[in-house]
Each structure stands twice: as C-alpha cells, then as structure tokens.
C-alpha cells in the first residue's frame, strides 16, 4: 500500500524508450537551430575589407550529436535515480548528522564570531571582510522582518540604509553630534521613511509592491544626488567622525585609548572596536526580531504572509501591521547605515544603488525567508564566498552565478527553508517549507 502510494509522481511520468528518444530529438533540434548560424557559418573581414565566410558543418554536426547523446544520458540517469526528493537524495545517517550540526551551528557560529578579532588580529583583510559580512548580516536580518516574516517584497531596502547613513553623516558633520546620539536618530528617521513608503503601497501586492519599492529606492538616491546644498550631491559627504569608545577616541592622540591604556597605538584597535560594534548591533537586531516573532505583532506579520483575508476576519488591522513591519525593517536598515557611514568616513550616493538592495534581498531569499540562522549563513556565503572566488579572476561572477543556481535547485526555499513555531505545547517541531507561504506582497 505504502509502496504504491509513496511515488505516484514517478509512475505518472512516461518512461519508455520512445519518450527518451523524442526528448533527445527535440533537444538536438533546438541545438541545431541555435548553433547553425553561431557555429555552422563563420564570417570574417577579408583582406579587401569585404566579408568572407566559410562553413563548419562538421563542427555543427558534432555539437548536435553531443546534445542528442547527452540528452539521452541525462534522461537515463534521471530515471535511474528516480524522482528527486530529500529522503532519497540524502541518506539517513547524514540527515541525523545534519540535524545535530543544525542544533549546534548557531552557538558555534556565535562563539566563532566573538573570537574572530582574537584569531585574525594580524590580518587586516580578514577583519575588514568580517565587518563587511556582519553589516550584511544585519541588513539581511532587518529585511527579513519585511520580506521573510511579513511577506512584503521590498526591492528598495537600500533607501533606508542610505537614510541612516546620511542622517548620521549630516548630523555629525553639521551639528557635531556623537555617534551614540545619532544612532537612535538614524534609526528613527529611517523608520519614519519606512512608514512614509508604507502608506502609498498598502493596497499593492506582489509585483506591484515590488515595483513601487524599487522606485522608492531610486527616488531616495536621486534626491541625494540632486539636493546638492544638503547632501553634497555626487561628491558625497566626507570627514564623517569616527566612532568613539564612549567619548574616548581611538586614535594616535594623547587622549586616545591607546595612550590612556599605556599601550602602543595600532590602527587595528579601531577595526576591532568596529567589529564588536557591528556584532553587537547585529545581535541586537537578531534578539529583537526573535522577541518580536513571539509577540502578537510578530505572529500577525506571519499570519499576514499566510493569509491576509483571514487576518482581517480575525480583527487584525492589516494596515498598521504592514506599517510596523516596514518601520521595523527600515529602522534596522537605518542603524546599519549609520554604522556604514562611521566606518567609511565618507559616503556618496554610489554606495546606495539598486545593486545593494538586490544583494540584500538575495541574502534573505538564499538564506531561507524568515530564518535568522539561514540569513546569517547566506550573508557569510554571499559576501565571504564572493571574496573566496577572487582566484577565478574574470570567471568569478560566472562561478558565483552557477553556485547560486545550484543552491536554488538543491534548496528551492533557501538554505534553511523550514519554519520554527513561535509557541508549542508538547513538541517543538519545525514546519516543512512546502506549507509555509511566501506572501503576496
């Protein structure tokens, strides 16, 4: 009984030799059409400037034959393996090992993160890179509230990053306010802009929401470029004060931290401080998000992602629920922006292009929407991994792209696709990603 019902999809698929042959023929035909001009005919400028050409039908035939044979092999392999599902793909002992690793992965990562400046104290490059990774972890966690929990597709997240960065840069350079005063202000201002974006897009869903948020991101960037008197336009803002350790500067001066502690000054001190600063900010984001998920507002976000009509029938104000999601996500983006400004010391509109929004969104989607650990892992892979591929030179983007495609085939719902319940009576069991909705915007 169970044997017959377990694989209905397999039985439904045609598997005869005729089917394989037909599929291979179609592939070969497509290859023939595609390559007949690309490979079959070669043109070049002749010695007199005229166009000369010669045919390469042999190469073309070989290529089409390869496609034909390859298609048969692939199809045979697919039938030999059977339908791809996780149970058959990953053996049981590996699965249990993975679940064990899964339980200890988060604490291990956390301990490792705390030790990074100790282990890599002398390697400035790695310290810089880990600060960058943590910035994206924080941005990912912030966007996760909007996209992962509330299911609202936001393509303009970089706008809030920019608002945070410019808030700190302008407040600090114009009014001399310190980083610790500006940090909450940057968050509040970004949250304010989040609400402002939220209002017009409340009625929109899915693709339409994505387009409007995309436009919003561009509007903020264009305003920054063109409002020269305030933002300095394309020249950006320079001379942004470095963060101080509660008033003690981390520089070479007599009142600096090194001098006060009586140790030799090193620029690494500031890097280490920045590292722990962004680590603390990211962990705060994480803690607040985990807390919020278990509060009624967080559950309402997730319920909104699952079914908005049902939410309204239960008396949930979907307007304020969406706005709080936008505001919370934007606030974390603003914090990250303020950190970015103080780390760089110089910001310009070039840092806040759509590319950044897309990168942060990719981090959230690859990590598994709604999963905190998944987002952290994917930020590590995307930012850190990209640096690892530096050895491939011009093929770097290609390798990276292939890796992303493979990851999405292997794990269509991201690295950590399942959802952990926020409350339980007896068993805290994860919910399969097949059931969890992605939201309609």
């Amino acid at each position: 009984m169970s044997a017959t019902s377990a694989r209905p999809s397999h039985a439904a698929q045609p598997s005869g030799g005729a089917f394989i042959l037909k599929k291979a023929l179609i592939s070969a035909l497509v290859a023939l059409v595609l390559f007949s001009l690309m490979i079959g005919v070669r043109t070049e400028a002749g010695p007199q400037g005229g166009l000369i050409y010669w045919t390469r039908f042999g190469d073309l035939a070989a290529l089409v034959a390869t496609v034909f044979g390859g298609s048969i092999i692939v199809e045979l392999l697919r039938q030999w393996w059977g339908p791809i599902d996780k149970d058959s793909l990953v053996p049981k002992p590996v699965q249990s090992a993975m679940s064990f690793a899964g339980r200890w992965l988060a604490p291990a990562l956390l301990v490792f993160a705390f030790l990074v400046p100790v282990i890599f104290y002398d390697q400035r490059y790695i310290l810089d890179l880990s600060i960058l990774v943590l910035t994206y972890v924080m941005l990912g966690w912030g966007l996760n509230v909007v996209v992962g929990l509330a299911g609202l597709l936001d393509l303009g997240y970089v706008a809030f990053y920019a608002v945070g960065a410019y808030s700190y840069a302008l407040l600090a350079t114009n009014f001399g306010l310190s980083f610790w005063v500006c940090l909450p202000l940057a968050g509040i201002l970004a949250a304010f802009w989040g609400v402002l974006l939220g209002f017009p897009v409340l009625r929109l869903r899915g693709d339409y929401l994505a387009i409007v948020t995309l436009a919003f991101g561009e509007i903020i960037r264009l305003v920054i470029i063109n409002w020269q008197s305030l933002t300095g336009g394309p020249n950006g803002v320079s001379g942004i004060p470095r963060p101080t350790m509660f008033g003690i500067p981390l520089d070479n001066s007599d009142s600096g931290l090194a001098a006060r502690l009586g140790i030799e000054f090193s620029p690494t001190h500031r890097l280490v401080f920045l590292f722990y600063l962004i680590l603390a900010m990211a962990l705060l984001t994480n803690w607040v998000t985990i807390r919020l998920r278990r509060l009624p507002i967080g559950r309402a976000w997730e319920a909104l992602r699952e079914d908005e009509v049902a939410c309204r029938a239960l008396g949930i104000n979907t307007t304020t629920t969406k706005l709080t999601a936008f505001a919370t996500g934007a606030m974390f983006g603003g914090f990250a922006g303020a950190f970015f400004a103080t780390r760089q010391g110089f910001i310009s509109p070039e840092s806040f292009t759509f590319q950044e929004s897309a990168l942060v969104l990719a981090i959230v989607v690859l990590g598994g929407m709604g999963s905190q650990l998944g987002v952290a892992l994917s930020a590590l892979t995307m930012i850190g991994g990209f640096e690892l591929f530096r050895g491939f030179d011009q093929y770097r983007m290609l390798v990276f792209g292939i890796a992303m495609v493979l990851l999405m085939i292997w794990r269509p719902r991201g690295l950590i696709g399942h959802r952990a319940p926020t409350v339980f009576l007896e068993r805290n069991q994860a919910i399969s990603s097949d059931l969890v909705k992605e939201g309609h915007g």
């Binding site: 509060l295 319920a303 009509v309 029938a313 319940p421 926020t422 805290n428």
Partner: protein, 277 residues
Amino acid sequence: MSGDHILTVDRLMMRFGGIVAVNELSFAAERRKITALIGPNGAGKTTVFNCITGFYRPSGGAIRLAHDDGRTIQLERLNDFRISKQAKVARTFQNIRLFPGMTALENLMVAQHNALMRASGLTVLGLLGLPSWREAERRAIDLARAWLDRVGLLDRADDAAGNLPYGDQRRLEIARAMCTEPALLCLDEPAAGLNARESGGLNELLLSIRNEQGTSILLIEHDMSVVMEISDHVVVMDYGVKIAEGTPQAVRDDPKVIAAYLGADEEEAIAVMESGT
C-alpha cells in the same frame, strides 16, 4: 418581529454593477440560537455573509447588531477588521482559510491578537518581558488549549495547520473564530466536504457552542441533515430575495422552498425532502 434579536438585517441591498445579488433582504437572528441561511447555489447567501462580516459594503439597507450589554452597532458602517474587533462578529470561510504554515496552536494565538496586543502594551511591555505580559500569554495559551480540546485537536496542537486532514481543518477554523470570543459566529458551509460521522461531530460542536458559550450562530449550509438537526430558525433565499422563513419543519414543507430547490438543482431538492423522512 418579536423575540430578542442579536442581528437584524433590514432591507439589505447589494449590487455588483447591473446585477442585484441581494434584493431588499430582511431577516433577524435570535440571540443564543442557531439561524440557518439556505438556498440553491447562487442565491446570494455568501454575499449576505460578506456584507455582515464587512468584506462587502452593502449598496443599501441596514445591518444592526445588538450586544448583550445593550449596545447596538450598525455593521454596514464598519468595515474590514473592525467588524471582528469592535462588533465581535467572527466568521469562517467556505474554502478554509487557515494559516497553513503555522501550527494549530499558533492559529488560535493569532486569533487572540487584539487582546494580546493590549496585554503586551502594544509590543513595548512584551519586548521587555514584563510579568504581566507573560501572565497574559499564559492565559491565551490556556484558552487556545481549551478550544483545541473542545474540537478534539489537542494532540495535534503542534502540527502545521496545513498538514491536518480536511475535517480537522474545518473544526480548527471554528475554534480559531471562537478564540476571538465573538458574540455572533458566522459559518459559511461548515459541513462542506465532511463525511457523515464528521458532520455529526460538527452538529454536537455547534450545539455545545450555543449552549455553553451562549454564542449566537448564523450559518450557511447545503447539508440538510445539519440544517434540520441543529437550526432553531431557517431563512430560505433564492435569487437574492427571501422566499420563506420559519422552523426547520415549516420550511421543509413549504411548497415554495421545494419549488426553488427543484427548479435549481434536482439533487438538492431530493436531499431536502429525504432528510425529512
């Protein structure tokens, strides 16, 4: 009309462009009673429901809800989530609308959103983890547990709602609606897709909700065994107007009702008549 009415629908009109879906419909639902709204397919029953629960804004007429404490609320003036939040009208859907990726328990916790929002001090107190919030959350879990027990789903509390069998999902949706602590519970075809044993269980559940919670129930139903067995009052609609009203017995023998069902759908007419014998 006499009696203590919780819901009074007065000359309700609903037009979609040139189509009149509900035409001057008037009926009333008594307090702590089960009122059934029946009629052939396309009679406008779900449209009436959507007007009562705020998903449509009626083109005309009035819908009054009289609470136990004497407050009267004009439902046609409220919209959207306020119907549930302020007027305490809960509903279920013809095609089940649970939160499939959340556990059964979480579904019932979401239903208590407004009470929990107040208890968590609009999130601020909850974020700080104050004892008053923890106490409120514990009470909410207890209420959810009690309802899971009532609908027989306590052992599946931690399973995803989307993984439950169809009949369980129907009962969970009713439990979720009850967790909003409604004065009026509106059920849109609660027995659709249930087998005979399950719809028997549903009858018991609805009767116990009426008797123990004192919640008034308004239901749309095609399953005549459910309608005839549990309703106190039946309103029959066809083509957007009321064609009959009364006790189940009286409605079943009404020639107009039989004609409406015969004209619309032979199977349903046979079901109406057979359930009486």
